[in-house]
Symmetry: C2
Subunit: 324 residues, 2 copies
């Protein structure tokens, strides 16, 4: 395949990626994009990166990376209750590999279209593989969810099931073995996470605080509680576990649910009076929402196992912690 | 110095970087930022990256990289006539080096404050040094400058002086030698480029099209002309050259002015009837604006030297072109 330059690659692969939107006045092809934020809406901005070696292994499928690079940003907006609108993509790759780029954009674009996100800007640079996406969304003024709204007595809830992505990553790393069916399920959860966009938006009417689970429930619930200046008791036996994770890990599944990163589920708090609303919402959207703890005034996160309070020490997930 | 984790580094170095803004409802510290776009304004979005090896040499001063990473994005908004408002920073660095980060943020923050830009989001990852900034700005609805508005007869103009940054880069690379004073001037132009934000905003009332010069005048003027479906005659003898570049390069200075990247000056077209307005604007802002060519219907960019039409073949600047 002939080498293409940056402009040609952008023209061929990026210009028509994502969803068309009528609020995009000017998309890819000028110095910047022009879009319109509707009256009565605030603008919600986030950025997140996938860096080879830190967030994914060399040789990871390009399509999955395209999906994940957008999903991790969608998840941030979901945690605010915002609806995603416009994305920018900054891609550094070792070679102008059109085949890789085509698969990457296919993954990115399919997810973008699912959420009506337009790709309005992008740049390509030669260098170590690294993907940075910026995502802008909107939320009715004054209604965004934050980490800081949890109050004593609120239910501590999570969406979906937890720990699957960590299981998928360990399968990919050869650290875990599992039968074909659960292995495929876990790997899919790692490579193609589901951002809870619709749930997050609806939670604006139900939840008191929300965060997305990117670094593991223990870490992210801790962040929510710290921002709210409260604590919680968490019942480990109530953590939602997939059948696949239980098949693959047995008794150790709860540890992945508590510590495993990359889930991109939501962790949120709900006043008890709205528990019924949450149940209805969960059913309507077809997304499991599980109460696994209770917020209390005393700070700190206390884990309750079957035999009582658990002693548990764990280092929080951090991209700057070394494994050595 | 003790190793810090990502959250600590963000808290210490990024949370208070940039300018405070009253339209920032929620800044760094939640899943995403919340800001308000004023009524009657469109949102203008851009992103650009600096990657070690592609855009800067290993060992480049951190403060300069902080400045440049924002300046290249400010320049994109300037080319649209937009005013910058909110920035997001995604930084990949080999180590959690607090000293480096402090100098980087000092460079970023000083420029951000100069332009009243708030830093509303950021993330840090361990990996090869790479800096991606997303910048959002505003422009009164329907008034943004584009590349596509040039018409036959318009003057082809540039701001400031051209080629200095290329001279500075070559000094840094040891490819060029110069006396101390011009060397310092050229190096400063490479390491601390000036984004023409005020000029770009004022050009909305004067210019018919605009682009920023990041890849060299020949390339970027070519993009403007292509987008406008016109061509131009460019008088090489009228290219604005700094005294420093002429001292360092003598007769070859015009080649740097034509081909050198990283200038971050504006290239724009002005209908002849507004030439007087441009002169007034240039004087009021204290920014040289030089007409060095004329737009014509015939496509292509023809270079006129002292002796007539110049034969000139040059590869356009591209981050995917190899030097070998």
């Amino acid at each position: 395949m002939a080498r293409m330059n940056e402009s040609e690659l952008i023209e061929r692969f990026l210009r028509h990626a994502g969803a068309p939107r009528t609020d995009v006045t000017l998309g890819i092809g000028d110095d910047a994009a022009i879009v319109t934020v509707p009256a009565g809406q605030e603008l919600v901005l986030t950025t997140d990166a996938l860096v080879e070696g830190a967030h994914f292994l060399p040789g990871s499928p390009a399509r999955s990376l395209g999906h994940r690079s957008l999903a991790i940003n969608l998840s941030d907006l979901a945690a605010m209750g915002a609806l995603p609108r416009w994305a920018l993509l900054s891609l550094t790759m070792p070679d102008a590999d059109a085949g890789w780029l085509e698969a990457f954009v296919a993954g990115f674009s399919a997810l973008a279209r699912e959420h009506q996100v337009a790709l309005v800007g992008g740049n390509l640079t030669r260098g170590p593989l690294s993907i940075t996406v910026q995502l802008a969304g909107v939320v009715p003024t004054g209604t965004a969810l934050r980490r800081s709204g949890a109050r004593a007595g609120d239910l501590l809830c999570v969406s979906g099931t937890l720990g699957d992505a960590r299981g998928g990553l360990e399968l990919q790393q050869g650290l875990l073995a599992a039968a074909a069916e659960p292995a495929a399920a876990l790997l899919a959860r790692f490579e193609y996470p589901t951002a809870r966009v619709a749930l997050g938006s609806e939670l604006r009417a139900v939840a008191s605080a929300c965060i997305d689970i990117s670094d593991g429930l223990l870490t992210d619930a801790g962040r929510l509680l710290t921002a709210s200046r409260v604590g919680a008791q968490l019942r480990v036996g109530q953590l939602p576990l997939s059948a696949a994770l239980q098949q693959a890990l047995g008794d150790r599944a709860w540890q992945h649910a508590l510590l495993g990163g990359e889930d991109y589920e939501l962790c949120f708090t709900v006043p008890p009076a709205r528990a019924g609303q949450l149940a209805q919402l969960s059913q309507r959207l077809g997304v499991a929402c599980t109460a696994c703890g209770v917020v209390r005034a005393e700070t700190g996160l206390e884990l309750l196992g079957a035999a009582g309070v658990m002693q548990f020490s764990a280092a929080p997930f951090d991209h700057f912690q070394r494994a050595d």
